[in-house]
Assembly symmetry: C2
Homo-oligomer: 178 residues x 2
Amino acid sequence: MTTAHVFIATSLDGYIARHDGDIGWLLQRDDPAEEHGYNDFIAGKDLIVMGRGCYQKVLTFDRWHYALPVLVLSRQLAGTAVPPALQGKVRFADLTPRQAMAELAQQGVRRIYLDGGQLVQSFLREGLVTDMVITTVPVLIGGGRPLFGALPNDIDLKLVSSRAFPSGLVQSTYLVAP
Amino acid sequence: MTTAHVFIATSLDGYIARHDGDIGWLLQRDDPAEEHGYNDFIAGKDLIVMGRGCYQKVLTFDRWHYALPVLVLSRQLAGTAVPPALQGKVRFADLTPRQAMAELAQQGVRRIYLDGGQLVQSFLREGLVTDMVITTVPVLIGGGRPLFGALPNDIDLKLVSSRAFPSGLVQSTYLVAP
């Protein structure tokens, strides 16, 4: 069985990026000297699953940051070739969240890091998220790409832990009630 | 000078009530044995300012909970009579946030408790909020009345403190950067 885990930052008003994808408001408040637990989080994962929006955002970064294999769920990209520099690191697939989880389970993938707002929302709607580490950035940006979206039912959460950093980030870990 | 202070609870996805005003999801997760600091907060305030939506919600409660005078900012209610049971406790006025703050300052009101999503948003847009105590409830409700809204500019916040409760509530206090 494969389980999906979220580690994501959001403004206090719930946005993971501006409408145009900009995350400068986040980066400028990230103190590199603070240890926010990303390395510990990622060390326990086998694969990263993201959507097209998130993939195209990380493509703009100066270098490819991921040591883990990345699966990009996108109807639009599924028929296209992975850029040469990313072959063997990235795979495109047109799969629903449930199909992706079934395929990954067959491949022996145990724990995935789920990244990007749209994908987190669709996996949450399908009841496919196990836990979430939400880091809240002390700023209101007033609009953008929301972390959460519409749901067919309430999703009950269990707070596992919460900690505040000198930079003003508040990081809370929630188990999603099964 | 009058300062405005927010003390409010929100679902993790940023809603203070469902679309119909329902807050059952909040009340069922509120452990009355936990001390969330409301009494300390309110003890330092002179007056409560709320909008019509919030006023009409508290009217449905079993009793009037407020010892402090309440100012309801509402164009619609401003021409109407305050219910007999609330005379001397509640006043209706058709004032903008800035007008209300100026009038209250003239009356010697020093610190107000600002309640309700719409009013918090309009005071934030005008730069009239000093600090906010935000209590995050461990649930996603998928939609409803949002705590925050559109802004003309980013609002920078300074985290003062954050604490987690056994019930799973996370309460963070932010100073709004002037």
